[in-house]
């Protein structure tokens, strides 16, 4: 081992950096399952046992895996399947059908997909599936013909399970659960969803047929654990070709995690959300800054990336507006203050703007009505303002009621950063009577 390390230590730095990119990107883009699921060991065991029983004993089961977005539901399922596929007894028997509520938007598509994935098309030769009804009876017949001990168990994975509950009559769910509760071909139905109220979506007959097995993936992560996970995520594995580089990199990661400012940034992210999707976005941004010239992640990288992540989209958009448009926005803000969020129209905004111009006796911003109108329409296109509910298209455009889609804080923030913002406009923004 040491011999190989010594030999490989001469890897050029560029090579090492590209290797680092490759390894870490794979992790951050969820292309590679972690070696061991962390924090969900109990659920992992439960699910693995359940699926194994289906595969080995031919016992039908149904289970829902519930957890917020990014909690690792799919990761859990995939790692269980990976583990099971290493056992020949399971691997030879289990048929898998993967459906996604976002792809299979109705039962007809879902049934076709099931038939395809079960490769039942081959059984019927050149038969073309005409109708949805035929397809359904066909599939049900197929499942009905099987029995517990002789037919291969089928695993149905329904991603975005809650969307399947919106299909007409919940036919698919009823039938899947019904098969799982009757002496037909053994099936395991695994639903993945982020909705905690998923059971309430099920029709009472469907609900009764569901086994009520639910697994909640709710992370109980503390900040030190979170930091530990980050370190693991960033560290290079032991079998990295250049041992010396890996050591240096890992040391740099450790110092980064101990750094005060970096810790602050990470704490803020942790407070905002504990899931790893958003963290991966952050780390990916940091990673992309790593180059030959800067062979490690520094706290400043993390800070910049964090700023980038937390940047306010609408406030950024305000930076691209013209002075006139900005003035109109400020006028709207004052109107909002005065009328407590009641909708306004172009005429009101124009009046407010005119008041500002009179006070300043400055003709610099003296624009014609059509120009104001144009600017107003541009703001509407950017969706910084939107027509109030129930505003009909019949009313003249000047009098159409509008609402501002920005918060005061966003406007003030944008003004602070706006390049060469006239001071009188800034003053007007802070006070209506400036």
């Amino acid at each position: 081992m040491s011999k190989r390390k010594a030999k490989d230590a001469h890897l050029p730095i560029g090579e090492c950096i590209s290797q680092v990119h490759q390894i870490l990107r794979k992790r951050f883009c969820h292309q590679q399952l972690p070696v061991k699921p962390e924090g969900v060991e109990a659920q992992h065991k439960h699910l693995a046992e359940l699926l194994k029983r289906t595969a080995v004993h031919g016992e039908s089961n149904s289970v829902l895996i519930v957890g917020p977005r990014g909690a690792g539901k799919t990761m859990l399922l995939r790692s269980v399947l990976r583990e099971l596929s290493q056992e020949t007894e399971v691997q030879k028997n289990l048929l898998q059908v993967h459906l996604n509520g976002l792809l299979q938007t109705d039962d007809r598509i879902a049934l076709k997909e099931i038939t395809r994935q079960l490769q039942l098309e081959n059984v019927v030769g050149d038969k073309v599936f005409g109708s949805f009804a035929e397809n359904l009876t066909f599939l049900l017949d197929a499942l009905k013909k099987g029995d517990r001990s002789s037919s291969r168990p089928v695993l149905f994975v329904l991603d975005e399970f809650d969307l399947f509950a919106q299909h007409k009559n919940q036919t698919l769910l009823y039938n899947l659960f019904d098969v799982s509760q009757s002496a037909q071909a053994p099936v395991a139905v695994v639903g993945l969803t982020c909705r905690l109220d998923v059971l309430e979506l099920l029709e009472k007959r469907v609900k009764s047929r569901f086994s009520h097995r639910q697994m909640y993936l709710l992370s109980k992560l503390t900040f030190p654990q979170y930091l530990e996970r980050i370190r693991d995520q960033l560290s290079l594995p032991d079998d990295f070709p250049d041992g010396k580089f890996a050591q240096e990199w890992n040391a740099a990661v450790t110092t980064l995690c101990e750094d005060k400012s970096a810790e602050e940034v990470l704490q803020r992210h942790f407070n905002s959300s504990t899931d790893f999707r958003s963290l991966h976005t952050l780390l990916m941004l940091c990673l992309s800054r790593v180059s030959v010239a800067r062979p490690s992640i520094t706290p400043t990288d993390l800070l910049d990336a964090s700023r980038f992540c937390l940047a306010d989209a609408n406030a950024n958009m305000l930076h691209g507006l013209s002075i006139l448009e900005l003035c109109l926005i400020i006028a709207m803000k004052h109107l909002n203050d005065v009328y407590e969020g009641e909708p306004f129209n172009l005429q009101m905004v124009h009046n407010e703007f005119k008041k500002f111009l009179q006070r300043k006796s400055n003709s610099m911003y003296n624009f014609e009505q059509p120009i104001i109108m144009k600017a107003f329409e541009h703001l509407q296109q950017l969706e910084l303002i939107r027509p109030a509910d129930g505003a009909s298209a019949k009313t003249q455009r000047e009098f159409q009621l509008m609402r501002l889609m920005l918060d005061h804080s966003q406007i003030m923030e944008a003004l602070q950063k706006y390049p060469q913002c006239p001071t009188d406009v800034k003053q007007w923004a802070t006070s209506a009577f400036a």
Partner: protein, 913 residues
């Protein structure tokens, strides 16, 4: 249309007149009937015909001759025969005892088949009756029972009915026309007959099993056979009027050829020669055309083959023999094989032929020997895929041709004559020359067989040389070697013009598999697909807990259904009485999910079916449909029809067929018990599906019992319109949710003295479930989960703690746990929402309002205030979990939000933190 039919009838009905009938009282009774589309050879293949042939005509039924006898007890007078006449037409059909007839039934296309045993008039002398022996068609046997047959039934197959549930006395006026029924040996293949009016009997059916028929039952009196003339006027037209008999078929195709084809079986033996004659005239025009036409006739059943044959038919005449079909198929097989693998001659069969030029007398055994040889030799050269499909595709035609051969042993002279005629048109080389070369050819081929090393060129040469001579060999030889000859024709043609050779080469490989085409998918159509079998057998439960888990699974079929004895009894007696009386009725069963409705009804049906098997009650048909298992309420018709008769139809057509089936009187009909699960899903706006389902049982002849299952007790009052609710009637049964004692009993009975649970634990589960829903499925699921937990904790018995944990997992609300595990900002946001609600005094706020609170809270907590984008992200995460309910996100900061949890829950979750 009537006119057309009459014309047709006039043109063809000459020979079948029965003149000078004596009319006896009672005078001719008239009735209006539908004339069925008769299954002519042509008509059966052309759907168009069916639409033309449904005519409304009057049939007149009259007794022929004086009564044979008079039964004093019953005051019935027996008659020897009955004549059927169509009003306005001179033709008359005679039905006499012993003859096979078609009897009008509920399906126009498939009238019932029966044999007349006795004809008599009842005491008043008005009603004409017939005592019949029934035959069951394939379509009348329940599809599930057809599996007992163990083979695909022949479409023209009928079964001698030996059940007792059908009356054997029918109204003579429902007789349509005579028909041929022939007995076949069980092992014998079905003859290929295009004639729809001939049926074949092999087995008998007593509504449970198929048994071989005793031919004496059928054949003892066969007066219908043309060779045994019973009554003088009937004998001359016996062949023709039989099937054509009673009425103008209304077939608008007065093509004599078709007409001839349509004649009954006795004529079919004459058919090939007749066709040959007609074809013979064509020979003058073009020999090839003639051949292709002949082939067409030989292969009518498989259009795909026909096409192919036409394409590849060489312009040489062939023997006009009955086994021409076989020859053609085999020749094609070989041609295909040859071009597929670029030529190696089909040696073994040729050797056989050349060495032993079989005499005509010994042809049959010779053929038997040859037949297996040829495909084998072909198979050797086939590619793998073709190998699979070929023998299957070839089989029926081969057996059929063999059969024909047997039938037509009497008329080879004609064929030989034809052959010679044909040969005149073909190229002739001296016979002597051929004889000389035969031996050399054999030698070469033997060499080839040994070596098999020659190049393509050589092989082709080999084939061509002999082929030319062989063609000119003696007639006898040619008769036997027709198949080979064909192959050689192809080869010869290929030599003559290279272009046609290549053409064939490209075509033939595709041809052979295609030939099997029409047969293979037919096999598939009936095959329901299934999940493949597992590679390794399922493991049996190992320990007590696993055993308990297997028994507690909802799918496990318990030995008995405890706690539903009363309901079971009620449903049982209801259905039993209906079946015994042969009447119909409806029953509505309601109850919340998981109270054993479907299970009980199915158990009832199982018991009744068992009783029917024990002959305690008459047999009946049980059909089950489920509203949830169909895509559209109207699909119910299609499913019922399919389960009842096995035929597939669109929903509308199925509705019409069912309507007819249930409303028309049928001489023999078993009671149908229909279980409609999830009735409420069959609701349509006009409720016609439900209306029909409940209306059919009220029909006089329906013999339909409908058991409808739904969840709500007051469904009839709530969603059904009056006329449907009224038909559903008041026979209702409601399944109460299980009480805790019943649930406990259910679990105990399932465990069946398997000691896996502590008593207290069981009681806890059942009490808990009874309090929540009374759903037995829930109870079983909890127990099952408890055994898993117990197994993991390595305790012997499932105790209270395990059950508690299982209950917790299944019934605890996840909201509190979810809030506790949420991130700091998410928790703060929830707090801000509550604060804002309190401030507004409303349970609703916009995001903007909450954000102000949130930012304030952040400052209080010493955190950096969140921006709008970040705040929105937090809010949407909560919305995705449905802790919050949100308006669509395009509204941005203006979107309104509500809590999906009670404020107390939120505060409780946050406080405990």
């Amino acid at each position: 249309m009537v006119k057309m039919a009459e014309q047709l009838h006039d043109s063809e009905g000459k020979g079948s007149l029965v003149q000078g009938e004596s009319r006896f009282p009672p005078g001719p009774s008239r009735r209006t009937v539908l004339i069925f589309p008769l299954r002519f050879r042509a008509a059966s293949r052309t759907d168009r015909m069916k639409y033309f042939t449904r005519l409304r005509v009057k049939r007149i039924y009259e007794w022929r001759g004086a009564p044979i006898g008079f039964n004093r007890k019953l005051k019935t007078s027996e008659y020897g025969s009955l004549s059927i006449r169509v009003e306005g037409l001179p033709q008359t059909t005679v039905i006499s005892a012993g003859q096979h007839i078609l009897i009008e039934g509920d399906d126009d296309n498939n009238p019932y088949v029966a044999r007349v045993l006795r004809l008599f008039a009842d005491e008043s002398g008005v009603q004409k009756k017939a005592v019949v022996q029934w035959f069951v068609r394939v379509s009348e046997v329940p599809p599930s029972k057809l599996q007992l047959l163990g083979r695909v039934p022949h479409p023209q197959e009928v079964f001698l009915y030996e059940g007792r549930s059908c009356e054997d006395e029918v109204n003579a006026e429902s007789v349509l026309r005579p028909v041929q029924v022939r007995h076949l040996d069980v092992a014998a293949p079905f003859p290929v007959s295009e004639d729809g009016d001939t049926f074949y009997v092999k087995l008998s059916w007593d509504s449970r099993t198929f048994r071989p028929v005793d031919p004496s039952l059928l054949d003892a009196p066969r007066p219908s056979h043309p060779s045994i003339p019973l009554s003088p006027p009937r004998s001359p037209p016996a062949a023709a009027p039989g099937p054509r008999g009673p009425a103008p078929r209304g077939l608008p195709a007065p093509d004599p050829a078709v007409m001839r084809g349509a004649t009954a079986t006795p004529a079919s033996s004459r058919k090939p020669s007749a066709e040959a004659e007609s074809l013979h005239s064509l020979t003058k025009l073009s020999a090839s055309k003639c051949l292709s036409a002949k082939r067409r006739s030989a292969t009518q059943r498989t259009p795909g083959v026909r096409k192919k044959l036409q394409l590849s038919s060489p312009d040489e005449p062939a023997a006009l023999r009955d086994d021409v079909l076989q020859q053609l198929l085999e020749a094609e097989l070989e041609a295909g094989a040859r071009s597929a693998t670029a030529a190696s001659p089909s040696l073994p069969p040729r050797i056989t032929h050349s060495l032993t030029p079989l005499r005509r007398t010994s042809r049959k055994p010779g053929r038997r020997d040859d037949v297996p040889l040829t495909p084998r030799s072909a198979r050797r050269r086939e590619s793998q895929s073709e190998m699979d499909s070929l023998p299957a595709g070839d089989d029926p035609s081969r057996t059929s041709s063999r059969r024909k051969e047997v039938q037509t042993g009497t008329e080879p002279v004609l064929e030989v004559l034809d052959e010679e005629e044909e040969e005149n048109g073909a190229l002739r080389v001296s016979r002597r020359k051929s004889a000389l070369k035969v031996s050399s050819r054999i030698r070469k081929q033997l060499n080839l067989l040994d070596g098999r090393l020659s190049s393509d060129e050589d092989e082709e040469e080999e084939e061509f040389v002999p082929s030319r001579k062989e063609l000119q060999s003696s007639d006898e030889e040619e008769d036997d070697e027709g198949e080979e000859e064909d192959e050689e024709l192809a080869a010869k043609k290929s030599r003559r013009s290279s272009s046609s050779h290549t053409k064939q080469k490209t075509r033939t490989p595709r041809k052979t598999p295609r030939k099997a085409g029409p047969i293979t998918p037919r096999r598939h159509r009936h095959a329901t697909p299934s999940i493949p079998n597992r590679a390794q057998p399922a493991r049996r439960p190992g320990n007590i807990l696993e055993e308990a888990r297997a028994r507690l699974h909802v799918s496990a079929v318990p030995e008995s259904l405890p706690c539903r004895e009363q309901e079971f009894q009620d449903i049982y007696s209801f259905v039993e009485s209906k079946v015994l009386d042969g009447t119909g009725g409806c029953m509505y069963v309601s109850g919340v999910p998981g109270t054993g409705k479907t299970a009980t009804v199915q158990e009832v049906m199982r018991c009744l079916q068992h009783a029917a098997e024990q002959d305690e009650i008459p047999p009946f048909v049980f059909i089950q449909i489920n509203g949830m298992k169909m895509t559209d309420p109207h699909q119910a018709y299609a499913q019922i029809l399919q389960k009842l008769t096995g035929q597939k139809a669109t929903a509308d057509h199925a509705a019409a067929l069912l309507e007819k089936r249930f409303s028309n009187p049928a001489p023999r009909k078993e009671t149908t018990v229909l279980l409609v699960d999830e009735l409420d899903l069959l609701w349509t706006r006009k409720q016609n599906v439900m209306y029909n389902l409940f209306d059919w049982p009220t029909r006089r002849h329906a013999r339909l019992v409908v058991l409808a299952i739904a969840n709500t007790m007051d469904l009839p009052e709530r969603i059904l319109i009056n006329r449907v609710a009224s038909r559903l009637g008041l026979t209702r049964m409601s399944f109460q949710p299980y009480s805790f004692k019943q649930l406990q009993q259910i679990v105990t009975s399932r465990l069946n003295k398997l000691k896996a649970f502590e008593d207290d634990a069981l009681q806890l589960v059942s009490r808990k479930v009874a309090a929540l829903s009374g759903d037995a499925r829930r109870c079983l699921d909890i127990c099952r989960r408890a055994t898993e937990i117990c197994e993991r904790s390595a305790a012997g018995l499932v105790g209270m703690s395990h059950v508690m944990q299982a209950l917790d997992e299944m019934f605890s609300s996840p909201y509190v746990a979810a809030i506790r595990s949420a991130s700091t900002q998410e928790q703060l946001f929830l707090r801000a929402v509550i604060a804002e609600f309190r401030r507004l005094g409303l349970e609703e706020a916009t995001f903007q309002q909450v954000l102000v609170q949130h930012q304030a809270l952040c400052r209080v907590e010493g955190l950096q205030p969140v921006g709008v984008s970040e705040g929105l992200a937090v809010c949407r995460r909560l919305g995705a979990c449905r802790l919050l309910l949100l308006e669509p996100s395009r509204l941005g900061v203006l979107q309104r939000l509500w809590l999906n949890v009670s404020q107390d829950d939120v505060l409780f979750a946050l406080k405990a933190d």
